[in-house]
Amino acid sequence: MRNCGKNSLVLLLALSAILFLSSCSFSSSGNVSVKTSETADFGDSNEAIKNSEDIARRAVDFDHEPDDYKPLKDHYNFYFTYKTVHSWWDAVALGMEDAQRQYLDRGITITYEYMAPDGASAEDQIRRLKDAKDRNFDVIGVDVADADIISPILDEMVDAGYKVMTFSSSDAKEGCKRIAYVGNTHNYRDGADLTEALCKKLEYKGKVAILVGSVGAPCHEDRARGSKDTIAKYPDMEIVATEYDMDSVDLAYDLTIKILNDNPDLAGIICCNMSNPVGAARAAQKTGRDIVIVGMDHDREALHYLKDGVIYCLGVQDCYSIGFDTIRIAIKIADGNKPGELFKEKTDEITTVIYQEDAAVMLELLYGDE
């Protein structure tokens, strides 16, 4: 009886212990640490960027394909020379390469050289053109380094039977015999538009400076003329400095520092190429001066300055279309066609002025970041 009672108690306690321990061991399997866990709610800001997306996608048109023209040959070999090694022309090259790929898909092989010196130089361009003449290219394309010097050379080449076209940012002088031009035909207006935006921002008063670019480069000079003519319309505005930065960021920076030191009350800078807005913005940041900067194109650093409000606006040229259309027109020229129904003597490509609110979308479109 006594043993039986003791056994019963031991059995009950053992059962309880087993059940308790089993539940403990079961629950301990989840007793683990979490690496990182922070939570919050999502916000929705998509609506705000829709307009900017439209502007950015209109500014650079990546949707190109060859037209209905049937090339007469299955292989073309071109030579292109441009002002200077610079990322602006790298963007043009991407349009060219895409055209080359698309024609290749259609059975047309295009090979080409696309060459430039490290610094813009009419003399270097002359040397390159002379060299190209001896190498049997179907078409020679030139982004004119200096219209006064290069235009007569192009005339001579056309007279000698070479098929010569101009492309990208700078055409030859009016009356030049080159066959066609593909690129920006409204540099004067671009300079005027950017300057008008700057004047409005400054409420049409104050001192400004102009950074032109390369001496004699038609696109830079034309934009500078557009700027000067616009400033001249407003009596309370004054141009205190006009400098040539030779399309160099470093030189543009040095020149801007000097201009800022010489003019403590400077209100704005008009930049006529892709390099000088970067140099001007770096200088403004370095000196902490609050000035309105307007400039050209899509340099990644410049777009970041635009996003941060250091640059007020940028005139973005559609380099991709320039490159694609250059190849498209070069094929027609190589086949002996002249401007007319098949192509225009001047194929105009657009420039779009973008502001701070458009910068992030443009950065994402062109460089994949925001």
């Binding site: 009886m1 006594r2 039986c4 009672g5 019963s8 108690l9 059995l11 009950l12 059962l15 309880s16 059940l19 308790f20 089993s22 539940s23 079961f26 629950s27 399997s29 989840g30 007793n31 683990v32 979490v34 690496k35 990182t36 866990s37 922070e38 939570t39 919050a40 709610d41 999502f42 916000g43 650079v60 990546f62 090694v85 990322s87 022309w89 790298d90 963007a91 090259a93 991407l94 060219m96 390469e97 080359q100 290749l104 092989t109 295009i110 090979t111 080409y112 050289e113 696309y114 060459m115 490290d118 899509h298 380099c319 991709y320 479109l365 062109l366 460089y367 994949g368 970041d369 925001e370």
Partner: protein, 323 residues
């Protein structure tokens, strides 16, 4: 002095013991249910991180292997070109084209000593276009990302070509470009849309063009998570990205919680990021939990029946003893 066990003492012991046993069973059942639920949540996060880390690691290694094998290919290709005795630009273009086709590359090119790039179809001055052609990067192995002016994003592998001379001209570098979309195809596997992955740059920029879940999509990772994670968490993870340190972030989306895990890809400045919605793991764990719970119920029922039978046996034994 020994006490006698009376009938009353025995019955009291049996009743108290049974009640204790029942109470223990019920308390255990309640505790188990509560702990089970909390453990499930913790396990979801832990499993998410563990699973994602393994997945990110595996994918990162795939990219590293791809880089390594391409550098090997480039070395062999340059040796092949050197042995061909090429005498003109036309011959060089043709050879580059053959190699490009053989290795399924978007671009295979050589760079001469004045930084002119020679490809199958073009010859161009490339100093401003290619990062690896800067003076500080030339003449060493480099892996960079090509992402300019709307072009498809590409991985660029460059290697020096010491001693390579073609038609009297010295060549300094060879490089290949691989479309990131092709790398993505290599990494993608059938996961029924439950996990997401992407390749990101140091600043959180999406390079692969793959959507990282319904909230982040293809946007910059940190821009997309702004306001969703605390600022200090964002700063910590930004720093991890910049310093190539692995980590993870959990955040609440519109209707579900998600966890993402990132690991640096060796030899590159890229991050492999993998994301999973926790509901996916929660659903899977719920199945396991439900099965466990059913087992517990059976166990409890068995214990109760066993106790009742045991109690009955004791009563019978007691009756026999007293008789």
């Amino acid at each position: 002095m020994k006490k006698q066990i009376t009938r009353k003492t025995f019955i009291t012991t049996a009743i108290v013991g049974s009640i204790l046993l029942m109470a223990a069973v019920i308390v255990n059942a309640v505790m188990s249910t509560r702990r089970n639920s909390s453990a499930t949540s913790e396990a979801v996060s832990e499993v998410s991180s563990f699973y994602l880390e393994a997945m990110a690691d595996r994918r990162a290694k795939t990219v590293t292997n791809l880089i390594s094998s391409n550098f090997d290919h480039m070395e062999k290709a340059v040796a092949y070109i050197n042995a061909q005795g090429i005498k003109s630009e036309e011959e060089l273009r043709s050879t580059l084209g053959n190699i490009k086709a053989l290795l399924s590359l978007d671009r295979f090119a050589l760079v001469d000593d004045v930084k002119i790039v020679h490809t199958q179809y073009t010859t161009y001055t490339g100093g401003s276009r290619h990062q690896f052609l800067s003076d500080e990067n030339m003449d060493k192995l480099s892996v960079s990302t090509v992402s300019i002016y709307g072009s498809s994003k590409q991985m660029c592998l460059a290697a020096p070509t010491p001693g390579l001379k073609i038609a009297g001209k010295q060549y300094r570098e060879s490089f290949v470009q691989i479309d990131v979309r092709e790398i993505v195809d290599l990494l993608a596997f059938e996961d029924e849309g439950r996990t997401y992955f992407g390749i990101y740059s140091k600043n959180g920029e999406n390079l692969s063009g793959t959507e990282l879940g319904p909230h982040i999509l293809t946007h910059n990772l940190f821009e997309a998570l702004k306001g969703v994670i605390p600022e200090e968490t964002e700063a910590e993870n930004r720093s991890n990205f910049l310093n190539a340190v692995e980590g993870s972030i959990s955040f609440a989306g519109e209707d579900t919680e998600s966890t993402l895990c990132y690991v640096p890809i060796e030899d590159t400045d890229w991050m492999m990021v993998v994301l999973i919605r926790e509901s996916v793991i929660r659903d899977r764990i719920r199945d396991i939990s439900e099965k466990s719970l059913a087992m517990s119920k059976v166990q409890i029922a068995f214990t109760l029946i066993y106790s009742a039978v045991f109690f009955g046996v004791l009563m019978i034994m007691l009756k026999i003893l007293l008789d």
